[in-house]
């Protein structure tokens, strides 16, 4: 007994001595963990700060409020009053006539030309659209809020260095003087930029919007989900629950894991070769984009679904099989419902990755300049990440903030998808 007691004392001492080392290790590990977290958060904040600081002004645009006399002689120069006249009428001159009234100081042709350029080319479309909707406006004086050129917008947002040489910037000193004059007369206003959310792409930054890209991305993701989720889940269920484990299933598993890591541009090339060249699908269309992204998401969803199925305890399968449920009943009634939250989360994570892909979409022609908002999945369309790529490449200063705005839209889209994933997981989670 004495021996054991002495040994006990020894053990206590030994443990005490080792304790200090162990606690030290734990403290170090904590410090590593916290510091890596801090680094991650700093990176994230820098990223957000840079995007938001460049992009927040994209939500504001500069407009001019003008009373335009819709002279029927200018609109119907031939006196025919046809629909066609409305399309080809010279609205620009109507607007400019109105603008001239506020700027009596314009002396010569050169100054008038400079004054014309502070208006956006989109201004005349705005009047045209309104008149085509309501022809009775012809002959009346109507108040319009019209977009100004992006260079004016940039100047008012403080991006133009007025000290620099006039040749090195696109807005002239004379134009700046005109704008300041108009501001004094309370004609120039800064409004919320609804254009950004209701238009497609444009050559002019002040007319460009993200709606086309948003709709295109949404269509593609819907197609991706509809195609890849059921296919991948069925494949995962078959592989996990029914297939015999042998060399072929091992071979398949290796290949699926491999496919999940294949660079996305290769899927783009595959889509180009198969869907567009072989099947003759339209280029730049959401249907092809959706199919390509489905191919890309497919292995990711299979892997996630198999992991979810694996995590269902075997005791549930035993219980159902023991009652005489067939294999398929066991799987569909018991195993899949338990694995569903994991499957959904996995596939939404896969789709979130697909949402951010630009390389495969560029391969299938989605890099094209598309102004119209797509109304069907076979029409040419833009996509959010490609829109970011296109705008970031554009020379106009106005597109820089648009790029950040598009990135913000992409991030919000992602945030919504991930929230959906969490919501679905909680909804289908079965409490034990």
């Amino acid at each position: 007994m004495n021996n054991i007691n002495r040994a006990d004392l020894n053990v206590t001492k030994l443990i005490e001595r080792s304790l200090e080392k162990r606690n030290q290790k734990e403290r170090y590990f904590r410090i590593y963990g916290i510091s890596s977290l801090v680094i991650a958060v700093v990176f994230l904040l820098t990223f957000f700060a840079s995007i938001i600081s460049t992009g927040y002004q994209a939500f504001i645009k500069t407009d001019i409020e003008l009373e335009v006399f819709l002279d029927s002689e200018v609109i119907y120069p031939n006196g025919t009053k046809t629909e066609e006249d409305l399309f080809f009428a010279d609205y620009d001159s109507l607007i400019f006539t109105s603008l001239k009234e506020h700027l009596p100081e314009l002396k010569n042709r050169k100054e008038r030309r400079q004054a014309r350029l502070i208006l956006s080319s989109g201004a005349s479309y705005k009047i045209q659209n309104k008149i085509i909707k309501d022809k009775s406006l012809v002959g009346q004086t109507v108040s319009f809020i019209l977009p100004l050129d992006d260079e004016v917008d940039m100047y008012l947002k403080g991006y133009v260095d007025t000290e620099s040489s006039e040749n090195s910037r696109k807005i002239t000193d004379f134009q700046i003087a005109l704008v300041e004059n108009l501001i004094e007369k309370d004609l120039i206003h800064r409004n919320f930029n609804t254009t950004l959310f209701v238009s497609g792409d444009s050559r002019e930054p002040e007319l460009a919007g993200i709606l086309g890209a948003l709709v295109g991305s949404f269509m593609m993701l819907t197609i991706t989900f509809i195609i890849s989720f059921p296919l991948a889940v069925s494949a995962a269920i078959y592989l996990e629950e029914f297939a015999k484990k042998n060399i072929w299933t091992d071979f398949l598993e290796v290949n699926i894991n491999n496919l999940a890591a294949v660079p996305s541009i290769i899927y783009g090339l595959l889509g180009l070769a198969i869907f567009i060249n072989f099947f003759g699908f339209p280029r730049s269309a959401p249907i092809v984009g959706g199919l390509v992204l489905s191919l890309m998401t497919f292995p990711v969803v299979i892997i996630a679904s198999r992991a979810a199925l694996k995590s269902v305890p075997p005791s549930i399968r035993d219980a159902a099989l023991g009652l005489g449920a067939s294999k398929i009943q066991t799987t569909l009634h018991h195993v899949v419902p338990l694995a569903l939250p994991g499957m959904l989360t996995g596939s939404i994570v896969g789709m979130a990755r697909a949402l951010g892909e630009s390389a495969p979409l560029i391969m299938i022609g989605m890099v094209a300049f598309v102004v119209d908002i797509p109304t069907s999945i076979t029409e040419p369309s833009a996509a959010l990440p490609v829109q970011v790529f296109l705008w970031s490449d554009a020379p106009e200063r106005g597109f820089a903030e648009k790029t950040s705005a598009a990135i913000m839209a992409l991030l919000v889209f992602l945030l919504l998808m991930n929230s959906l994933a969490i919501w679905l997981r909680n909804k289908f989670q079965i409490k034990w």
Binding site: K244, K245, P313, P314, S315, I316, R317, D318, A319, A320, L321, G322, L323, G324, A325, S326, Q329, H333, H334, L338, I430, K431, W432
Partner: protein
């Protein structure tokens, strides 16, 4: 005592039952890959009796019980040879040719099972009991089903405890209640044989006693095969007992004989507490 028995070893005692035979096991061998887990087991299982399977861990009791409802099929590397019949029909016949006369689904409906760890479905208490009858189409209408669920829960003594919360999850019950729910779920399919794989090992003594009482009641109508680690429990509840050792069925006889006057020295050692 850990050495293996001779490969020609023959079970001592009496492999026949005094009651009418419901299941018959002939030359049953199980292999897990290269491991020979169950060796040449021959035994009859009789109606209205409790057969207790005892033996040290890893001796093949659970393997044997899982042969009786072919649950070993779920293990890819498991291979079963020999003949096991239910009412004279070979349950493994479709192993060799697919035109067998006993479908595995029918077999498992006729031979129910209760597991070591209570494993209710994560569904409502009602659904747990109703699931078996539903998939087999045993009830003609909702009313019929309600009555069946109630009678099964009454039989396992759970009705009074859960009748007001049938919609609660089966997993919200206590361990003992869960195990009784699993027994109710098994008898709802109206099987002829119920296999129990250490049904009380995860339960406290009070819950254990309730399950033991339940086993004694159930044996009026069912043939029961119960794996247990507790010799006291085996002697309390069983009419026949079988002792397994290293994959061999060493001895099978009436419980009275096994627990009071075993024939084989290995059995003697085990029940007197020298091994196991």
């Amino acid at each position: 005592m850990e050495e293996e028995l001779d490969s020609n070893f023959k079970t001592v005692g009496n492999i026949r039952t005094e009651k009418s035979v419901i299941m018959n096991v002939e030359d049953c061998n199980v292999y897990y890959g290269d491991v020979h887990a169950l060796k040449n087991v021959n035994m009859e299982i009789g109606k209205s009796e409790v057969l207790a399977l005892i033996g040290p861990s890893g001796c093949g009791k659970s393997t044997f019980i899982r042969c009786l409802n072919r649950l070993n099929d779920t293990i890819d590397i498991a291979r079963v040879t020999g003949k096991i019949s239910l009412d004279g029909k070979d349950i493994y016949s479709d192993y060799i040719n697919t035109s067998g006369n006993m479908d595995v689904v029918l077999l498992r409906a006729r031979v129910g099972m209760v597991f070591q760890k209570p494993n209710p479905f994560p569904k409502s208490i009602f659904e747990n009991v109703a699931y078996g009858p539903k998939i087999h189409g045993l009830c003609k209408d909702k009313n019929d089903l309600n009555n069946l669920v109630e009678s099964c829960l009454v039989k396992v003594g759970l009705w009074d405890e859960v009748k007001d919360r049938l919609e609660d999850s089966g997993t919200s019950l206590s361990g003992g209640q869960q195990q009784r729910l699993c027994i109710a779920r098994a008898i709802a399919v109206q099987p002829e044989v119920i296999l129990m794989d250490e049904p009380c090992s995860a339960l406290d003594p009070i819950a254990t006693e309730r399950i033991e009482d339940l086993i004694s009641e159930l044996k009026q109508n069912y043939a029961l095969v119960v794996v247990t680690h507790s010799m006291q429990q085996a002697s309390r509840i069983s009419q026949r007992a079988a002792y397994f050792h290293m994959g061999n069925l060493v001895e099978v006889d009436s419980s009275n004989k096994i627990f009071n006057d075993p024939s084989h020295p290995l059995t003697t050692n085990y029940i007197s507490g020298r091994i196991g």
